[in-house]
Symmetry: D3
Subunit: 275 residues, 6 copies
Amino acid sequence: MSNKETTKDSTKELFSVLVKEALTLSNSEPLLKSVLDELIVFRQSFAEVLAMSLSRKLASSLLSRSQLEILFLSTYKENPSIVEDATADLCATMDRDPACKSYLEPLLFFKGYQAIQAYRIAHVLWKDERFFLAEMLQSLISQKFAVDIHPAAKIGRGIFLDHATGLVVGETARIGNNVSILHGVTLGGTGNETGDRHPKISDGVMIGAHAQLLGNIHIGKGAKVGAGAVVLEDVPPHVTVAGVPAVKVGRPENALPSLEMNQNFTRDTNSKPAK
Amino acid sequence: MSNKETTKDSTKELFSVLVKEALTLSNSEPLLKSVLDELIVFRQSFAEVLAMSLSRKLASSLLSRSQLEILFLSTYKENPSIVEDATADLCATMDRDPACKSYLEPLLFFKGYQAIQAYRIAHVLWKDERFFLAEMLQSLISQKFAVDIHPAAKIGRGIFLDHATGLVVGETARIGNNVSILHGVTLGGTGNETGDRHPKISDGVMIGAHAQLLGNIHIGKGAKVGAGAVVLEDVPPHVTVAGVPAVKVGRPENALPSLEMNQNFTRDTNSKPAK
Amino acid sequence: MSNKETTKDSTKELFSVLVKEALTLSNSEPLLKSVLDELIVFRQSFAEVLAMSLSRKLASSLLSRSQLEILFLSTYKENPSIVEDATADLCATMDRDPACKSYLEPLLFFKGYQAIQAYRIAHVLWKDERFFLAEMLQSLISQKFAVDIHPAAKIGRGIFLDHATGLVVGETARIGNNVSILHGVTLGGTGNETGDRHPKISDGVMIGAHAQLLGNIHIGKGAKVGAGAVVLEDVPPHVTVAGVPAVKVGRPENALPSLEMNQNFTRDTNSKPAK
Amino acid sequence: MSNKETTKDSTKELFSVLVKEALTLSNSEPLLKSVLDELIVFRQSFAEVLAMSLSRKLASSLLSRSQLEILFLSTYKENPSIVEDATADLCATMDRDPACKSYLEPLLFFKGYQAIQAYRIAHVLWKDERFFLAEMLQSLISQKFAVDIHPAAKIGRGIFLDHATGLVVGETARIGNNVSILHGVTLGGTGNETGDRHPKISDGVMIGAHAQLLGNIHIGKGAKVGAGAVVLEDVPPHVTVAGVPAVKVGRPENALPSLEMNQNFTRDTNSKPAK
Amino acid sequence: MSNKETTKDSTKELFSVLVKEALTLSNSEPLLKSVLDELIVFRQSFAEVLAMSLSRKLASSLLSRSQLEILFLSTYKENPSIVEDATADLCATMDRDPACKSYLEPLLFFKGYQAIQAYRIAHVLWKDERFFLAEMLQSLISQKFAVDIHPAAKIGRGIFLDHATGLVVGETARIGNNVSILHGVTLGGTGNETGDRHPKISDGVMIGAHAQLLGNIHIGKGAKVGAGAVVLEDVPPHVTVAGVPAVKVGRPENALPSLEMNQNFTRDTNSKPAK
Amino acid sequence: MSNKETTKDSTKELFSVLVKEALTLSNSEPLLKSVLDELIVFRQSFAEVLAMSLSRKLASSLLSRSQLEILFLSTYKENPSIVEDATADLCATMDRDPACKSYLEPLLFFKGYQAIQAYRIAHVLWKDERFFLAEMLQSLISQKFAVDIHPAAKIGRGIFLDHATGLVVGETARIGNNVSILHGVTLGGTGNETGDRHPKISDGVMIGAHAQLLGNIHIGKGAKVGAGAVVLEDVPPHVTVAGVPAVKVGRPENALPSLEMNQNFTRDTNSKPAK
């Protein structure tokens, strides 16, 4: 399914790959040795790497780097599953982004990857009823990465957010596993009433750039939403929709279009889903 | 019209509510006590709270936190009406955003709210013919909040900017009172000639996510622009438009769709405006 | 073609104009004297001005202001042609943006201008096979300016990026000379395969706000892409396209629509290219 | 007694003098306008000036500028007498230092003045049994100003610490009113036993540079300690001591040698105290 | 020998005491919780506590906090004995300083303690022939703590530097174990020739405030140097010297005057050393 | 006179030696490459090196790094002779300090060297009647380096300040050429009257650690002041004084004791000055 090195199946393996990449890179680019040492080489686990790296990005006048670092470290300690989510997301990104050549790149450079990992912390805080702190984190993510994910939203693993600028995910949105979402996408609400009012995205869905999905609608497994679509109604599984408002235009070539990352919807018109 | 606590009718009351919220929050979340004390509890007016909070967000290598703080404080002192605008905007946000549970949230966390308050300062500077300084502020807002509002634009009060990322408002644009605008919206120009070339938005209008409104067009009172619409012509009052390019698709359910925040336009097809 | 002061034909002249503007401005706005002295008046060349100004904007926990300053200065020294590109871009911006009244404004305030100059540095690093460092720069640009240009993309001179928030330019994209691009535009790929997979934009093209151009398609010389269009196929020279998906709707009024900056496409229906 | 402008008798008057000095200075030295505005002109009381100015000097990785500012402001509010002490110290410094030409100089520049005002805060914290916080402040003062005053020490008002580098004042030391102390002076203990073990300095005493006063000894009113003296025994009132160990060498020319600041002790041999 | 809690005999025990002290303190002084968490509670060893704390104090434009942290951590890893030295010094300080009530105080607040631990790092670098880096550290220590210890000097363990401001220790100086040194002391050279030219201090010596010891002289075991003395010749064991130049004035009351910390030398005249 | 590499006779040569040292050092200690590049290798003159290096050390909340850098660069431009003084001081330090092995060390690490170069700037400002700014610089020097030199003092070239902590030089003091001064020294005043009241130090004088020189006294050419001396009267040329108060104890072995750096005064008793 991927012509790259098979994705690591454990966080531990991933960590040792990152250290190797960092050491190799330090040799060829001495300018970066000190930051790679600090963020990767001198760390003792992938969780520590994440905590250090995210806290440097999100530090602000509201919460200092040290306060964030401690908050993240303790959250990871008590919630090891979100570190595994982070591993799955990193592997998904490596698999699906043809411009990505090392695990270090998304980890250190992709604001989509960083935003979703920070959201995972905020989501834990939200579940612990530390609502205000969770919203503060949401605010920092929105200001630093231009990605606005409500901490109450529920998001699976193996998520790839490409480019990410402008992504909005509302309070009652739900995203399954192995979903790929381009930049400028909205999973938005319709109306000022509280209650379940945001989209539900099933496993394997691919959502093209600048697509606007609005309301408590259901996007079926393996569906594909074309770039620039405005989706206001349910989308059945393995169907491609496009247009303003969006209508069915065909079926994705692949059972899981999120792995393929093909934003073009014109060629889907007569296709059938591959196994 | 709102099932939340009635909006405060004065800046002074709002300030005392903020202090109470901050004190309550400090108790439940000690991590935030020091920043809440500094930004809210130890201040003496809502104007001071705004000046402190905005200057921390916008500080940069061009203008330091202290320089901004002084600039904002003195601008508020001589232009008390923009502090009242800020009060109205905060109440509007609290009223219309179902995910918002306290006044502190938009004040401290919503970049739409913060961007528009900083624009209000820049607008005063522009009117005082301090053009370059006003543009510097515009630039800081654009870089920190990804919101680009020209300081010469004219904007009323009771404005709610939801999510806000990517909003663009041009030099000769005009926005009335009680307007709600989602993220990714453009009030843009058409052409490289100077002169009146941007949209005019009337009271009570609701503009959905990623709508592009271009040229010196007039959007009538209580109109609604669907998400993803590209609007190139005038829109009459109490009409819903959608599509690329946008056409009339119905009428909003409500006389002031900005209060309702319903981005869905399919159900508007046969509806009549409620009084 | 432009009713403003004729664009300077050399980097040296531009530099002396900038110094004059800075001195005039320091007089009328003493608050800015110190930053203008530092960034403009005390510098000895336009290259130095660029290096100082960009490094202040892009400084982060990954690369310090000083590290960036040195990197930029040495890159400019060995690649003087990208300083000339920067001159051409600054003149293009001044010419085409009616809201822009001095050369200092785009230089210091426009994140589109700043992003493309930083990209030019990253592109040199990429050609020198310093891939990771180039990607780090791309990441800084994306986080600070919300503009995501892959360092391998090839971009001509005389480029004007208006507002810029959310622009995405992929790895194998190519942009000619004298092109104007609005905010929210994507030059994106289609699929997870490596290889030539992004749009090619010819000279003089104008791309409206939030247009999505996807795949290895060719946009002909002097073509115009309407705001909000989703373009999935080739566009012939001197043709206007619009809609989702985009279709031909007419011809631009002008041979080089990028100079005119008219995003409206409805009036192009029956027009013929001038000149 | 002083050929300078009569010292202000109230904190309020002093504050208005400081504002006037700052405004005059801003005119002649525009480089300093912004810092003078921030620290003096835009403040509303002398207490606020002190809190702002000291917190900027003492900010560190242990306590941030904001944390210190809030701590100082609230301490001044509840202990107005230490603001009056600060007024008296400023007037004393102005009176006795011939190189000092404005009240702004000691306020902003003299680390002796700043150290003693910070000590006054620490002393209040100590009396409130916030021992650790008081010691943290002592540590910050020692690291920033090279002045080490234990927060439990008791110090009167009208104190002038000239140059100040290296001053050490121990836990059970006591200093009266109108005392002048040069740099390098120690009021130190003798032994590792807790208990009353440091010098007691009466009103009007002058202690020359690098004098070492050790143990629970009593220095009488109007006494003078020569530069470089090592004092291990009581000194009677109106007596000059000098040498290692110190012996009586004469009597000060003046009843209050602290006002005269004459470190020379050779001419005191036969003199009698003036009234 | 000490009426305080018996000194911990292992670094591990010390670390757990520090954590307990930090937790207790966080409760009574919430303002400090975040810094205590970061520096103590969330660390995993005393070495890590030292590295974090020292790097925050010494960070500068020459070496960043992160660079120092990494340098210190790796030095401690490869030289565990200097961590044990740090334990011994902390216990010595606790034992001999009557004003010191917890292990946290010297660790976080005493610049003498911090300076000597930073010197221990520099000394390892010097022995590894990283001379310039060692001198850079010496320079940082001198600027931040006003303590100037040459990295080539050799210093034992159980050292207590009280107040510390102005201490100077030259390149070929040697200090034994269990020595106590007050502020303002110089172990200096005589002349511009390279070679062995600084004092050698034996075990158990106590050197009073501002004493100047110059040249390749030997201070015998258990000797005491009075405050303000200028010592230019050898001092035999268990002898007290004082004066300018220093002469023998008696014998310390105690075999190890460094434990007693009595700077007074007048009472030593007829005394005999206690066992 | 010196057994080291002959001192460079021009600032230009010195600059090229510094660049060579920096390049060599960058190779052996990659951790320092970035700071050495920034401060030395990428600079174009010794004046620029000084301005960059000093401004980084002295930056504070009163004057930013950039403000200082610009101030220093412009002062050097208009007063090239103080750059030559800085060259002479650097060579003097290299010559007389046996622990100093490269020109980079005093330049980057010795606070005595840095303090005197910053004083030279302040002195120019004082002569230009920018008194307050000069005093602000004096204050920064005192707080960062623990060296307090009044900007009105007059100081020659070829000055070596060893260790430097605690040095105080008063308003009307004068220091000739080729003088060496140890730490803790005071050139202080006697009394609160304005007027000429501080010591005058002739060429070639050596002043030992912690010596206190007080009043308008004259120290003759080639004289030597012993460590810890308190000097209250004139000292003839080529004489050694010591003690409290200081008396003549002999003659320096060398015509210019400042070159020899011998603080010991006991061996001077019967010696004659060498030619």
